[in-house]
């Protein structure tokens, strides 16, 4: 391609788009490598806007790991917003990297980060904008190898037609192994199928074209079989064993424009054993592995010196569960106070201990504390295994008011298995009680921010067999809550149920959904997570055109013994454990956290 993308971008396109800062690159810590002919060129592709992608830790980790190598380089590509996409299409300019303004199809490897199902259509759109054939089978020797990884690949099946290779699990080690294999293959100038054969031997690599999937007449999966005996029958996720010492990005790029998480992210531990039965992250990131306080303080020191951020955010699935959380916070707060650098603690559990922690890090301005009661009744809280007692909930909220917080955020989920009208009614009572409590303690009205989401059954969870509630009744419940929680001091945010519905369809989808995705792409579907771009009618049309039913995927209770579309993908957790957890859930029995109680035999250790 002979067009000078950089010239056109700077001379003609940037002045015509909203937020041009998304497309310029050249931020502090960006890496532009000197390259040789033999350098393996990798582009990390994020199927959403710059502001979203630049907030994602996994993306930063891979960027630095690859760029540290002598034999490879990594650049970045994000989905252009619709205004920029229109200009690119009009001018027939391919989507390009921010480092060297190179077209997507001029790289050796394209690595997509997949966070969730609502970015699938953006992957197809990026391939299309990059001049790469959508289907793996249509790609030629000169096309890049298309890789995908991230939490969204634990049910990779709906993307099987479009992705050459999935990485299942943690990417820190395997990315190097893939580059090594690729390099040797490139030197030998062998065929593309030979490359896939070789990569297929790596643990954690899933090559969908190496497997046959057959279906029963009723649409369920009949069998998933490797095409050759040499292929893995089950693909096991990659796990970093020495998490304390594993590579951590010390020079993260500092964006010039606002991004969603614009701060230092310090990953204090990975994994969670709380065992909430709807939560996929709580399963797929197991086992729990911590970094030591010493390592974390050292990392914080270095990253701060390299970035100048004003905030360090301790990241994990449940920060107050870190074994030395108090010591860590004390050390970080004391060390960085002088420099005007604060510490923040997202993902806190509901207990008074967490409120005390929050108080310690809160830089006086009480912005708001978040609690996730999830549901309205203790019965349902036991069903989902949110191991929190009603009294704990109220005493921690009381503690928050007493400590001076005037704004409380409450998260709820509706449509969970066994939910009744009473459970929904009790959400209202709970909110009213918190409201009264706040007024009594603070002597005036407090602000309550309520956020409701709809349950989406996800693969690899105890609730993977459960159905999503029908759209109509979910909408009705939301409407009811909205009408009843209308106090002036209460703000209520809720999802568009159609998004949750599509998410549920793809979360438990099989390979056949590839046809639907392709059809939806041609009908213009993209940015499905963004209200203003979401085209639900087009999606419905795509399903009709492909002869598949959305209800079949979203609203069906799966049988205990049926073959799941992701049966061959293992996150290390035994299916029997998940099944046992599901059965306990339906009986309202809880399972304690194995960190503080006996082993649950989930199988990961």
């Amino acid at each position: 391609m002979d067009i000078n993308i950089k010239k056109i971008l700077f001379e003609e396109l940037l002045d015509k788009v909203e937020k041009p800062g998304r497309y310029t690159g050249k931020e502090y810590n960006e890496i532009i490598k000197r390259e040789k002919k033999s350098t393996i060129k990798v582009v990390l592709a994020f199927p959403d806007l710059y502001e979203i992608g630049m907030s994602y830790l996994g993306f930063k980790i891979l960027y630095e790991i690859i760029n540290k190598r002598d034999d490879a380089l990594a650049e970045r590509i994000f989905s252009p917003a619709v205004d920029m996409e229109n200009l690119l299409r009009e001018r027939q300019i391919p989507v390009f990297s921010l480092e060297t303004y190179r077209a997507l199809n001029s790289f050796d490897l394209v690595g997509f980060t997949i966070q969730n199902e609502l970015c699938f259509s953006n992957i197809l759109n990026l391939l299309d904008l990059g001049g790469i054939p959508l289907r793996s089978t249509a790609r030629k020797e000169e096309d890049p190898l298309i890789i995908a990884g991230g939490p969204g690949t634990f049910n990779p099946e709906p993307l099987s037609y479009f992705i050459d290779l999935f990485v299942i699990g943690e990417g820190e080690e395997i990315i190097g192994e893939i580059i090594e294999v690729y390099k040797r293959w490139k030197e030998k100038k062998q065929s593309r199928s030979k490359l896939l054969e070789k990569l297929g031997h790596l643990e954690g690599v899933y090559i969908p074209s190496h497997y046959n999937v057959d279906y029963l007449e009723d649409g369920k999966v009949k069998s998933i079989t490797p095409k050759k005996e040499a292929y893995h029958s089950v693909i096991k996720k990659r796990i970093i064993s020495n998490f304390d010492q594993v590579f951590y990005p010390l020079y993260p790029i500092v964006p010039n424009i606002d991004v969603v998480h614009d701060r230092i992210t310090l990953e204090i531990f990975r994994g969670c054993t709380r065992g909430c039965r709807f939560c996929q992250a709580g399963i797929i990131y197991r086992p729990v592995r911590e970094k030591s306080v010493g390592t974390l303080v050292k990392l914080a020191d270095e990253i701060l010196a390299h970035t100048g951020y004003e905030e360090i955010s301790l990241s994990s699935l449940s920060s107050s569960d870190y074994s030395e959380i108090e010591r860590l916070i004390t050390q970080l707060v004391d060390r960085f106070k002088e420099k005007g650098v604060g510490v923040s603690l997202p993902s806190l559990r509901i207990d008074t201990f967490s409120v005390a922690l929050a108080q310690q890090v809160q830089r006086v301005r009480k912005t708001g504390l978040t609690f996730a009661p999830e549901v309205g009744t203790q019965r349902l809280r036991d069903v989902i295994n949110k191991n929190v007692q009603e009294e704990d909930l109220y005493s921690s909220i009381r503690a928050a008011f007493q400590a001076g917080w005037r704004k409380i955020k409450l998260y709820f989920m509706i449509g969970l298995p066994t939910e009744t009208d009473e459970d929904v009614e009790e959400i209202i009572k709970l909110v009213n009680k918190v409201d009264r409590m706040g007024r009594e303690i603070m002597g005036r009205k407090i602000n309550i921010n309520i956020s409701v989401s709809a349950f989406v059954p996800k693969s690899h969870t105890p609730f993977q067999w459960e159905a999503q509630e029908a759209r109509k009744s979910l909408s009705k419940k939301i409407g009811y809550l909205k009408d009843r929680l209308n106090g002036r001091n209460i703000s209520f945010s809720y999802p568009d149920i159609d998004h949750s519905y599509l998410e549920a369809v793809f979360a438990r989808g099989d390979r056949r959904l590839g046809e639907v995705l392709e059809r939806a792409h041609y009908l213009g579907c993209k940015f499905d997570a963004w209200r203003e771009e979401f085209k639900f009618e087009a999606w419905q049309q795509a399903f009709v055109d492909s002869g598949l039913s959305m209800e079949f995927y979203a609203n069906r209770i799966l049988e205990d013994n049926e073959i799941l579309p992701w049966e061959h993908i293992s996150c290390g957790i035994k299916k029997e454990y998940l099944l046992k957890e599901k059965k306990k859930a339906l009986k309202g029995e809880t399972t304690p956290d194995c960190r503080f109680d006996s082993c649950t035999s989930c199988g990961v250790c």
Partner: protein, 241 residues
């Protein structure tokens, strides 16, 4: 001993594509990377005591922007310039720095004039240069444009529509225009010099002036680039004050 330092910097590609609010963020982080001993405000949300000159609209570049930094420890101005330049992202460069009285008025309070260079490109050729008389024709054209600008500036009022959050607002921009003239003319390009009033009544984005003139002049010209090259206090460039 506290010390106030006035810094002059340029804002070029690609930083001209970020907003003023983002620029403040970018500078704050660079100052922290450079380990500059800035005074941190006490209060609920500790902030660096730095204060900027009038915001530059997104997309406009500048060779003369200013920033005041309040230091809690004295450091040499050359050292400050050097340390900052080592950690600034591409497109930002500190040009010079000088110590000013600790009680000096803020930049936004005292800056009263700004000068811009406007580059315009014609969709066709302004005139045919292969013509032997190219040069003299160019002169002629320049005179014509100059005359047109004078007529434009003689208008009683120059109304433009400004879209704000509250909707479209009509306003007269004439009081903000100090001067406008042709700087350079070539076969496809026209460069204009524009001076605007700055101050309490708000700062006018030069694009409004040019767009208003273009709709008046009716030529096939597009704005290619705008550069702010001077900010002044009572007729003197800020650093000379």
């Amino acid at each position: 001993m506290e010390q106030l330092i006035r810094v002059k910097y340029s804002k070029e590609e690609p930083i001209r594509y970020i907003s003023h609010l983002n620029l403040v963020q970018v500078f704050t982080r660079a100052i922290r990377r450079a380990n500059i001993p800035v005074v941190i405000s006490c209060g609920f949300n500790p902030r660096f005591r730095i204060s900027f000159g009038p915001p530059l609209p997104l997309g406009i570049s500048s060779s003369s922007e200013y920033l005041d930094i309040r230091l809690k420890k004295r450091i040499k101005t050359e050292e400050l310039v050097d340390r900052l330049n080592r950690v600034l992202p591409k497109g930002l460069k500190i040009l010079e720095a000088k110590i000013i009285p600790s009680s000096a008025d803020s930049l936004v309070k005292v800056i009263d004039r700004a000068s811009y260079l406007i580059n315009l490109k014609s969709r066709g050729s302004l005139l045919n240069l292969e013509d032997d008389n190219g040069k003299s024709k160019l002169k002629e054209l320049e005179r014509e444009i100059d005359k047109d600008i004078k007529n434009f500036l003689r208008l009683e009022e120059i109304m433009v529509e400004k879209s704000t959050k509250k909707g479209v607002k009509r306003m007269d921009i004439k009081p903000s225009i100090l001067d406008m003239s042709v700087k350079k003319i070539q076969h496809q390009f026209l460069e204009l010099n524009l001076s605007l009033n700055m101050g309490q009544e708000g700062n006018l984005n030069p694009q409004y002036v040019i767009k208003a003139w273009l709709s008046h002049f009716g030529n096939n010209l597009d704005i290619k680039k705008i550069c702010r090259y001077g900010l002044y206090i009572k007729g003197k460039e800020v650093m000379e004050d």
